[in-house]
Each structure stands twice: as structure tokens, then as C-alpha cells.
């Protein structure tokens, strides 16, 4: 079963987004 691999730092994610031509999805959540 596939699972989303969440990144945890912004700048590496932006670099990855630029390199891959993808948007960044920021998911702000709370455990409550």
C-alpha cells in the first residue's frame, strides 16, 4: 500500500519542487 512520504523542512522541499516542476503541499495539522 502506498503512503505519502512527508518532508519536514521547507527549503529542501522547495528545491525538490523546483527540480521536479511540482508544487509544494504544506499540510498544517493538529493532533486534536
Amino acid at each position: 500500500m502506498s503512503e505519502i512520504q512527508w518532508r519536514d523542512r521547507l527549503q529542501p522541499a522547495l528545491e525538490e519542487a523546483r527540480d521536479g516542476g511540482k508544487p509544494v503541499l504544506l499540510y498544517f495539522w493538529t493532533p486534536e
Binding site: 505519502i4 512527508w6 523542512r9 519542487a17 509544494v24 499540510y27 498544517f28
Partner: protein, 163 residues
């Protein structure tokens, strides 16, 4: 989202292929939190913020989305992203796909609205009017239909006359 939508296999595959996902707990300190949030505030969770690779915000959404609604929303975001890169044919494909695959999703009429904008960039005024009329016919009670209902009669007459 974490219990229902993200574990959905279609959602997980689509997000993994098309997006770079980051997860931030709003109750815990994080060194990138302020920069990630931009100029807005996290008044409620879940909050979704979509950025392009330069960090420019594409879209912001607050509240839960079930899988189909979320998948439509993701297609809408990909269309907006393509628009920012002037890839209007790609944008049109994403917008039309959102509305055709998920016609009952709340993002569907908005996707048609933006599809008209992309159509305008590709084919001019007649195309935006044609697409907006289609939006109004299919989703007459939505805010997107009201936003599209702006074409004055003289413009329609001019288009009908071939101008």
C-alpha cells in the same frame, strides 16, 4: 485528513507523484513554521497551503476534504501552477479534468471558471464566453457562476456577428 484522506491509495499516489508534501503540527515549534505559513495565520486546522518552487503561494484551503474533493482540489492547484508558468494547454487539461472526473466536488465549478481563463489565453474572448456560459448552465447556484455572469449583451452581439 490524516485518518481518511491521506491514507486513501489514490490520494497517496497522486500526491506522491505530483507534489512535494510537508507536514507541520501547528501546536509544536518548527524552525520553518513562519516562513511556510507566509503572511497568513493558522486560525484553524487542517490548513493546506500550496506553493510553487519559488515559494509563491498558489492557493490556500482550510478545513477537511474527503478523498474525491481533495483529488479535485489537487487538480485545480496543478492547473493554477501551470497557469503561472504560462502552460495554458496543461492548465486547461487539469481544470477540465477536475470538473469532468469530479463533477460533484466543490472545486468543479471553480475549475471551470479557471478553465475559461486558460481558454481565453489560448483562444480569445469567444472561448471565455463559451466556457463561462457552460459553467453558468452546469452550476447556476454557485459563486463561480455569479462571478462568470459578467458578459454584457453588446459583447455577445459582437461575438455573434463574428467580431
Amino acid at each position: 485528513m490524516g485518518a481518511v484522506t491521506y491514507p486513501n491509495a489514490e490520494v497517496a499516489e497522486f500526491v506522491s507523484e505530483r507534489f512535494v508534501p510537508i507536514k507541520l503540527n501547528i501546536k509544536e515549534p518548527h524552525p520553518d513554521f513562519k516562513e511556510a505559513l507566509g503572511r497568513g495565520k493558522a486560525l484553524w486546522a487542517p490548513l493546506l497551503v500550496f506553493l510553487d518552487g519559488r515559494g509563491s503561494e498558489l492557493r490556500r484551503y482550510v478545513g477537511f476534504l474527503p478523498p474525491d474533493e481533495f483529488l479535485a482540489e489537487l487538480r485545480l492547484v496543478l492547473g493554477l501552477s501551470a497557469m503561472t508558468h504560462s502552460k495554458f494547454e496543461d492548465a486547461l487539461s487539469w481544470f477540465d479534468g477536475a470538473a469532468e472526473i469530479y463533477p460533484k466536488a466543490s472545486a468543479a465549478p471553480e475549475a471551470l471558471f479557471w478553465g475559461a481563463a486558460a481558454g481565453y489565453r489560448l483562444q480569445g474572448l469567444a472561448e471565455v464566453v463559451r466556457r463561462w456560459d457552460d459553467l453558468i448552465a452546469r452550476y447556476p447556484e454557485t459563486t463561480w457562476a455569479r462571478r462568470a455572469d459578467v458578459v454584457p449583451p453588446e459583447v455577445r452581439e459582437k461575438l455573434a456577428a463574428g467580431g
